[in-house]
């Protein structure tokens, strides 16, 4: 393992300190327990609280600010934060219009956020994101994982909350955006957890992991690498099938938001190449891309690979997607 770090135990805190310094105009960092908030808290709006294991930067810490999140609680690498982090953060913010938790669907995140929510006296709701098409859903299991679609949920609900809407409205929109989103990822290499010091999985020089999770969890299948166009064909098929199972019509005139997301080790040039392949596929199928985002938005430490997320747009989602956002890592309209 080769990384820029001092002691593995301090990796996340050292990184958060740099993050807070680089964005001191926007960000407040609390160290004990660890949480991050916008510099200026507006206690009158619905407080959007997200968090999860670290290693997915800029998710969630990079999305704090006007038009997006209020609080992020980063856990250790790939390990969900503990309830005291959420509780302290919310007490620090003293929200008057309730708390909306945005939680990726992993047992650990769900349970820790649940424990926190049982221990606070503030009004609250939770949006669980579970957009990973790689996992087949079932009411008997943990269900689908929350992956890059979470960014879209955070952005869209962030705009609604900023506009002064109430907790229920935010919860309803969050659930809708999540339901409208579907993602699939492919890994070319493993990631390496700093404290573990070795790759999470091993993968052959000519193999890819199709349907990989953002923690390096195995996906649907291990296969031989092939032309990007062919990989993308499979990815698009998996997403369209998922929409089909959700009885959603991707040909809706609202079009889709297409997010081509890098896991961190894949260069922007390859992400754009993937974008091109997706666009070619969708154009053949008469699916209209009306919004785009390409870059490293939900990463998996140093993993090489990428995911595709499609979100079906309607006027409401589009309006809130387009609304101004001013965060360290997502910024437009101001």
């Amino acid at each position: 393992m080769k990384k820029f770090l001092n002691q593995t135990d301090n990796f996340i805190v050292d990184s958060l300190k740099g993050y807070a310094k680089a964005h001191e105009d926007l960000i407040y960092l609390n160290l004990d327990p660890v949480f991050v908030t916008r510099k200026e808290i507006n206690p009158n709006k619905v407080l959007l609280v997200s968090g999860g294991g670290s290693g997915h930067e800029p998710l969630h810490t990079g999305y704090l600010g006007q038009g997006m999140l209020d609080v992020a609680c980063p856990g250790h690498v790939f390990t969900s934060p503990t309830p005291d982090q959420m509780i302290s953060a919310i007490e620090y913010c003293q929200p008057k219009s309730g708390v909306l938790f945005i939680v990726k669907n992993y047992s650990g995140d769900v349970m820790n956020f649940e424990m926190a929510s049982e221990m606070i006296t503030f009004d609250h709701q939770t949006v669980l994101t579970n957009d990973d098409a790689a996992v087949f859903n079932s009411s008997y299991t943990t269900g689908k994982r929350g992956v890059a679609g979470t960014v879209i949920v955070e952005k869209v609900v962030g705009s609604l909350a900023e506009s002064g809407s109430d907790l229920t409205a935010c919860k309803v929109l969050g659930d809708k955006v999540n339901h409208h989103s579907s993602s699939i990822g492919v890994a070319l290499s493993s990631c390496t957890i700093p404290a573990a010091g070795k790759p999470t999985f091993s993968i052959g020089e000519n193999e890819i992991e199709f349907g990989v999770g953002i923690h390096g969890e195995p996906g649907r299948k291990r296969e031989k690498i092939k032309a990007a166009n062919l990989i993308v064909e499979d990815m698009v098929a998996a997403i369209l099938k998922d929409f089909d199972e959700k009885s959603l019509d991707v040909k809706d005139p609202g079009g889709i938001l297409l997010l081509v997301n890098g896991f961190s080790g894949t260069p922007l040039s390859e992400l754009y190449l993937i974008y091109n392949a997706v666009a070619e596929q969708l154009s053949k199928k008469n699916i209209h891309i009306s919004r785009s985002l390409v870059g490293n938005y939900t990463t998996a430490l140093d993993m090489a690979g990428a995911s595709i997320t499609m979100c079906l747009l309607d006027d409401e989602i589009k309006k809130h997607w387009d609304a101004p956002v001013l965060t360290p890592n997502l910024r437009w309209g101001n």
Binding site: H76, T79, M111, E114, V135, T141, T142, A196, T200, G213
Partner: protein
């Protein structure tokens, strides 16, 4: 139970976990995300760091403090589950318990994990060790089983539970996403529980 027994357990368990690093870690790398050992070790060290405070506490208070410490140090899936166990246990035990009372507390702890995790036997989790161990403990206590035999039986039950996870299709936790691909692999949380239980059995055997 005396507080020095609990403290001895804490030290032994921490050592055993550290000794089993590569075994535990490799399991979570295969069907999880590779952090289970790191999480468990962090929890064990956090509990070890409050050892000194436990002396002055009742068993109930001690288990509560252990639960809270785990809750705010471990995170992940295993953190809240282990924390729930100790918090539930702490509500049942007193300082003058017999084994019967403790076994009831243990089963309350396991139930609390099931509740928090919305999980049950056969989901390929730590519960596949904890539920059989809990049931075995009840029945052995009910039958008035001899201490040495009881220890041996519990240890064997825990070990059987770990092995049993191998062939299961996961329903809960991170590995649930893998479905059939997880078959053939042991659940890391189950392994950790077995190591902890075996360590305590060992200690009881010696003491």
């Amino acid at each position: 139970m005396k507080s020095d027994f609990i403290i001895q357990c804490i030290d032994n368990i921490t050592n055993c976990i550290v000794e089993s690093e590569s075994e535990i870690e490799s399991l979570d790398r295969v069907i999880g995300d590779g952090d289970h050992y790191i999480n468990i070790k962090r929890g064990a060290l956090a509990v070890q760091s409050i050892k000194g405070d436990l002396n002055h506490l009742t068993n109930a208070e001690a288990f509560k403090k252990i639960g809270m410490t785990i809750m705010s140090s471990v995170g992940g899936a295993s953190g809240p589950l282990f924390a729930s166990f100790f918090l539930a246990l702490s509500k049942e035990v007193s300082d003058n318990d017999d084994l019967h009372k403790f076994s009831l507390g243990f089963s309350r702890g396991v139930e609390s994990i099931m509740q928090r995790g919305k999980s049950k036997l056969g989901d390929k989790t730590m519960l596949d060790v904890l539920i059989p161990v809990s049931e075995k403990l009840q029945s052995l206590v009910k039958d008035g089983c001899e201490k040495n035999i009881m220890i041996k039986e519990i240890d064997l039950t825990a070990q059987a539970g770990v092995i049993a996870t191998k062939d299961l299709i996961p329903a809960k936790g991170r590995s649930a996403g893998l479905a059939e691909r997880a078959v053939g692999h042991i659940d890391p949380g189950a392994k950790t529980c077995q190591i902890i239980i075996s360590t305590i059995c060992n200690q009881l055997n010696k003491g």
